[in-house]
Symmetry: C2
């Protein structure tokens, strides 16, 4: 696997590849601390492209909480080993100096989609995501880019970015990979102490519980109360549980059509903020 | 000249050209009502690129004033004739439906540069400019893009956009073309009634007057007063006259180094808003 840290060398390398019968490039943007979820993205990209590029960059502008940024897990050596093993062709691993030159970075306002759910609890988060993804798209110019369903709202925001700025790239949303007990794979799981690891399952269990209640016709107001109680019993802090339209993420109070619906949840397990979501069918 | 109105056909056409020894593409984005200033951009592009593409699109999101948008001159037949004559290879002439799909378009905040000078009098203007230019860059993927010095702040905002979003495009700022008496060529000049055409010269004459005073060591506070009087005498409404740093457009009160300085002006000649600027050397 080739590793690049600067913009011009990777651009020159990719230009050369494009002129020499590489017709499709798959991009897998990550913040490192790779797990099986990321490797699933690599696998999807390898299946569909001549060349697969992973990026490892902990993007500061998408962190609203400085301590979350400072404590975000960094496991670079292991990431390289995992990417090599997965057959990733290229790794782009830039520094902050390479990625951000301006003292006062551009802010992108998505006009609604970025203010709800995650956006409500992480102001500025999706602006930072939009900015770094724009940069990566313009550096790599991929044919396709792969994102995990765990960050479903992020996928919708990036879809809006691509549609509105007309980036010539196709986006793929890859299903969440879970531990055997159901916990969604997340780099932040590395920060969970052993006694917290069990409590972390409260998110997934709540989603399953909520799904069954909703499919029985129970309204979200009731479901939310039950979820709050369940979180209290487990001593985990619920941030939100929302039933929403899969396309625009507008909140719903009951299921209209299960195949148009998604359940999203967020909470703090100790100091660690986790998110998860499931489709209703 | 080939004319395209939709995104996919022009993308396919350009992909084909790129695969067949077109190595450089020059983009000249315009809002139509073409004049010699635009043709100078075409000429610059033709000199430096294998293929030159003009776009004619009156972008609604960069108009803060609906009446300015409604009255913006549209002279499509003549534009096509002028572009043909100038040897432009391709014209992209999209509709609003092609360019804007979202009900609630993305807003781009440039964090300062977009709030001063034009930005102060045209809130939202540069967000619209950033949005449409991003779209055009992503549709055309040009090697170079050409803009007129008359819209100098626009050039600086687009430079910031390209730097920060890392678009793989080189920008060129082409000197303002003027009528024989000095009036900066502008599509909006078409809206000037004959008696207003003479008054319009107040902007350029004020710039020359101010430049001479500044180079004699007079401060902007004094220069501004004289400009206000000069505008009043000519019955033209001054919006602003500013001395600024050429790189970051920060206001200055006197000239530090003439080669780092620019004078910018804006005013209403009747109902028509005009802008102009000159370097000090």
């Amino acid at each position: 696997m080739e590793i690049f840290k600067e913009v011009e060398p990777i651009r020159a390398f990719l230009d050369f590849k494009r002129r020499n019968s590489v017709n499709s490039i798959g991009l897998v943007p990550t913040m490192g601390a790779l797990h099986k979820g990321h490797l699933e993205l690599i696998k999807s990209s390898k299946k569909e492209n001549d060349l697969t590029i992973a990026t490892v960059y902990v993007n500061p502008t998408q962190f609203n909480n400085p301590s979350d940024l400072a404590k975000y897990p960094r496991t670079f050596e292991q990431d390289v080993a995992l990417l090599n093993q997965a057959g990733c062709d290229i790794l782009f691993f830039p520094s902050n100096e390479v990625m951000y030159s301006a003292a006062n970075p551009i802010k992108i306002d998505f006009g609604g989609l970025d203010k709800i759910l995650e956006g409500k609890f992480r102001p500025g988060h999706f602006s930072g995501v939009g900015l770094v993804v724009s940069k990566l798209f313009n550096i790599i110019q991929p044919t396709k880019a792969y994102f995990g369903q765990k960050d479903y709202q992020q996928f919708q925001v990036i879809s809006s970015l691509v549609e509105q700025l007309m980036f010539p790239v196709k986006l793929e949303c890859v299903p969440t990979v879970r531990e055997e007990d159901g916990l969604a794979m997340s780099s932040r799981n590395l920060r969970l102490a052993p006694e917290m690891r069990l409590k972390a399952l409260t998110l997934y269990n709540s989603l399953q519980l909520a799904k069954n209640l909703l499919l029985d016709g129970i309204e979200m107001t009731i479901v939310r109360e039950k979820t709050i109680n369940f979180f209290e019993e487990n001593q985990v802090k619920l941030e939100y549980i929302e039933l929403a339209d899969r396309k625009n993420l507008i909140s719903l109070n009951f299921v209209l059509d299960p195949k148009d619906s998604i359940l999203l949840i967020s909470g703090y397990v100790g100091e660690v903020r986790l998110i998860d979501n499931i489709f209703l069918v």
